[in-house]
């Protein structure tokens, strides 16, 4: 039976609809009057970190090669007759797909024929077609993609940092895998992963923009194939709280040195994860606040520039706070960060600064709702993180200075700090 709920946010003045569809799929729809476009995202909670799993009836866990979730995304983007691009080209829609650490998403944006496009999306994702020939053909293109991402210094600096942080957790592995690991991928393995993770009970559909909920549901009712929940179990190797090593440097042809300075924190799940993420975001924003003394000193000395920023990076079994940017002297940033956290731990945060940063964060969340694409992704991401679409705004309004101080004290520890630097290398003209 299909169940429908309206989710509202009084803070943002917004609402959306959540449907638990009889097929097993969770569906979120946000009707956005005045907008012309429609964004639809069909996602599964399956990413590069999910390499060990089993479902009901499996006697043991299956371990698959690194990069297989991403490979599967490439292959699912075409059916027996043609690719998704060709199908969407006939309607004028723009289709795409992507894989992250913990999710794989297929999407389209369009301004008309959204029901037809939704049909294409649902059929595409529910009808895998893998043969030895088409799997082998994709290896060259993915190999090129791996090479291209390895040439991106911001990608290298990030993964180098993750490798220094995590002993065993697969978050340290490149999303696309390696040329060696993808060589082991077969049609049989792809079907095994598909059958396990592309179960509608493990998936979510999010549609926002110029749509009517009933018309979206009409298509869903017609094209979703009911799934029995196969009780998917995902496991991760045990991960120590300690980091692997505190520093890594690599030389690459870059014009300005870049760095990632990351604190390995203890992972969290469910509602604890939301609270922790919001406190971590507040802590990170306060530590990169351009009005702070630390920022002013580093900027004045030419150690940082306006690229200095922060992010909270978390998922199943991993959680970190990362500071990044361009700097010729990343060591000095590490020293300053350690000293500033020590100062906050003894003196506490300034309440006025805390409220100012909170207002700023609130403004950013409101702005996101200005946008069809962002709205669709907010609904999808919230579901995959086990929260409701406007829970983050609510949690932000509730977070306190004390909670943020606690997070800084307990999680931003100098012995859990990793510095990754990509240093410039002369270019031969």
């Amino acid at each position: 039976m299909t169940e429908k709920n309206i989710i509202r946010s009084s803070l943002a003045g917004e609402s959306c609809i959540h449907i638990k569809h009889s097929s097993g799929l969770d569906i979120y729809i946000c009707e956005m009057p005045g907008f012309s476009s429609v964004e639809a995202v069909f996602g599964t909670k399956y990413g590069s970190v999910n390499n060990i799993f089993r479902t009901e009836g499996d006697s043991s866990f299956t371990e698959v090669p690194e990069g297989i979730a991403h490979y599967l995304e490439h292959k699912l983007f075409e059916n027996e007759d043609c690719g998704a691009f060709e199908l969407y080209a006939k309607t004028g829609a723009s289709g795409n797909a992507f894989t992250t650490f913990d999710r794989t998403c297929y999407l389209f944006s369009c301004t008309r024929n959204y029901q037809e496009n939704l049909k294409i999306l649902l059929e595409l994702v529910q009808n895998p077609y893998f043969t030895q020939e088409n799997v082998d053909k994709e290896r060259g293109i993915i190999g090129q993609e791996i090479k291209m991402t390895n040439d991106r210094p911001e990608w290298r600096v990030f993964f180098n940092m993750l490798r220094c942080m995590y002993h065993s957790h697969p978050v340290k592995i490149d999303i696309a895998g390696t040329e060696e690991s993808i060589a082991k991928i077969t049609p049989e393995l792809l079907y095994k992963c598909y059958d396990s993770f592309y179960n509608l009970n493990n998936m979510v559909l999010s549609v926002a923009g110029n749509v009517e909920a009933n018309k979206v549901l009409e298509v869903c009712d017609k094209y979703l194939k009911p799934c029995r929940d196969k009780k998917l179990e995902k496991v991760f190797p045990d991960e120590l709280e300690e980091i692997v090593q505190p520093e890594i440097r690599e030389q690459q042809p870059v014009g300005t040195d870049i760095f990632h300075l990351g604190y390995k924190c203890r992972p969290a799940a469910g509602s604890e994860k939301l609270k922790k993420t919001v406190a971590a975001s507040m802590a990170a924003s306060l530590l990169t606040d351009a009005s702070s003394e630390m920022y002013q000193k580093l900027l004045g000395e030419g150690v940082i520039n306006s690229s200095f920023t922060s992010e909270v990076f978390c998922g199943d079994g991993y959680f970190s706070v990362i500071f990044s940017g361009e700097s010729p002297e990343a060591d000095k940033i590490r020293q300053a960060m350690t000293a500033e956290i020590g100062r906050i731990n003894s003196e506490g945060l300034n309440e006025k600064d805390f409220q100012r940063i909170k207002k700023s964060a609130y403004g950013v969340l409101i702005r996101e709702l200005n946008n069809v694409e962002a709205t669709a992704h907010i609904m999808l991401n919230s579901h995959l993180e086990g929260i409701l679409p406007y829970d983050t705004i609510q949690a932000l309004s509730e977070v306190t200075r004390i909670e943020t101080e606690d997070f800084i004290k307990t999680e931003l520890r100098p012995d859990r700090l990793v510095l990754s630097v990509i240093e410039g290398k002369a270019v031969q003209q």
Binding site: M32, G34, F35, S36, S37, F85, A89, K90, G92, A93, S94, S109, T111, R112, K137, G140, I141, Q144, E145, K147, M148, N150, D151, R152, P153, E154, Q252, P253, V254, G255, T256, D289, A290, S291, S292, Y295, Q296, L299, G300, N305, S306, E326, R356, I357, K359, S360, A361, Y362, G363, V364, I366, R367, L369, N370, N371, V372, K425, V427, Q428, Q429
Partner: protein
């Protein structure tokens, strides 16, 4: 959405779009000047304006103001469009009705923009030196960091080669040497020159229409003695007698090949259609044949630049496939020259454009960008009107456009042999 444009004073255009679906107010001010040896001084002046003002003279104070106003954004952008430098100041805030304490965010943003543009942090005819040095480092880092993004770096090297001897060969912020030599006084003089002589285009997008920016800008610009020269947005670049080949080895795993074709045709819409059919969509000839059918590249796309009448095809390729990829790219161009264009290929482009144009009104900045682009092209066509212009393009015109192409130069970034 309601859109209108008017002239406030000589060379000062003011456009506004009102759309009740938005929760924010956005303003973009663009100064348009010829790309010249003053590029670095202009870039530094504009960066100063987007960093501090007389009322908020330090980065700390400005940031405090912005974050107090719910993370109001204030930024500078510096771009090159053919032989023209575009220097922009942009700001955006959430509407007052979404504030928790009822603050007047729109009014504060108007005051802040007036302050930044007309009352900068300067004394005795020069910018304040401490912040100026921070801005100089920003520009220098921006110039240096071009190498960090290999695709941008390769595009810049191609520009240098294709437009050698023309203003467009330079980068949007000038050279490192130029940026190093600009003094706070010279940058301030560049700022005054921008105010007094540069054509300006202002764009405001707000849910209920202009909340008072027109009045502020009219008063402020009227107080100046402005005398502007219309910018030259289109200047065709001559085709070299022989294709110039430039390559350099680098520690990269994937080679980048950029090919620049020049045309003497004035049929802009046919050239744009040609570019889309060749490599503008995931069902284009280059994507389907070079990437999908032959697996020669991870990407292979094309883009037409009307300001210089050039079509650039760029690709990411393995070193041992470079020759084959280039051959196949040329084969696809030959196919168009020989009239191998299907109705489906043409229709796919129309559908893609129709979809793209219909979304112009969906973000506050895209309406402004749309009409600014039209302003540069000397037109004021709406998305619907421009779609009609595309619809009029026949296959014969696309073939003619393809026939007008000449390969001017090729830049290749080579991965080291040892990596192969």
């Amino acid at each position: 959405m309601i859109y209108s444009r008017k002239e406030l004073t000589e060379g000062t255009g003011f456009s506004c779009s009102a759309d009740s679906k938005f929760k924010t107010v956005s303003v973009i001010v663009r100064f348009i000047v010829p790309l010249s040896a003053d590029a670095a001084a202009n870039a530094l002046a504009m960066t100063m304006l987007g960093t501090v003002s007389s009322r908020f003279p330090t980065v700390a104070k400005m940031n405090e103001e912005l974050s107090s106003l719910y993370g109001m954004s204030l930024g500078t952008f510096i771009r090159k469009r053919g032989d023209v430098q575009i220097l922009g100041l942009s700001a955006s805030c959430i509407c007052s009705r979404f504030t928790i304490d009822g603050e007047d965010t729109e009014g504060s943003m108007a005051e802040l923009l007036r302050d930044c543009l007309f009352s900068p942090s300067a004394e005795n005819g020069e910018f304040e030196s401490t912040v100026f040095e921070i801005c100089r480092r920003e520009i220098l880092d921006r110039i240096d960091s071009e190498l960090n993004d290999k695709r941008s770096y390769a595009a810049a090297r191609l520009s240098e080669t294709a437009f050698c001897g023309e203003p467009s060969a330079s980068s949007s912020c000038g050279t490192r040497e130029q940026a190093e030599s600009v003094t706070p006084k010279a940058a301030y003089e560049a700022y005054r020159k921008l105010l007094e002589t540069a054509p300006v285009e202002i764009y405001v997008c707000a849910p209920e229409g202009d909340p008072g920016f027109e009045k502020m800008f009219r008063e402020s610009f009227s107080a100046l003695d402005r005398s502007c020269t219309a910018p030259v947005f289109r200047s065709k670049s001559p085709l070299k007698p022989e294709t110039k080949e430039v390559s350099e080895e680098m520690d990269v795993r994937q080679c980048r090949m950029f090919m620049c074709f020049k045309s003497d045709s004035d049929d802009i819409f046919a050239l744009k259609m040609l570019s889309h059919i060749l490599g503008g969509t995931p069902v284009s000839k280059l994507f389907v044949n070079v990437r999908e059918r032959l697996s020669l590249c991870y990407y292979c796309s094309s883009g037409f630049e009307p300001s210089k009448n050039t079509l650039v095809i760029d690709s990411g390729v393995d070193r041992d496939k470079l020759e084959k990829a280039r051959e196949e790219i040329m084969n696809q161009i030959s196919a168009v020259i020989n009239g191998d264009i299907t109705d489906e290929e043409v229709e796919n482009v129309f559908l893609m454009l129709e979809n793209r144009f219909a979304t112009v009104g969906d973000t506050p900045s895209s309406v402004g960008s749309w009409y600014f682009e039209r302003f540069c092209e000397g037109s004021s066509s709406s998305p619907e009107e421009q779609l009609m212009d595309y619809r009029k393009v026949t296959k014969a015109r696309i073939v003619n456009a393809a026939q007008s192409l000449g390969l001017d130069c090729v830049y290749t970034m080579l991965s080291r042999e040892a990596d192969q």
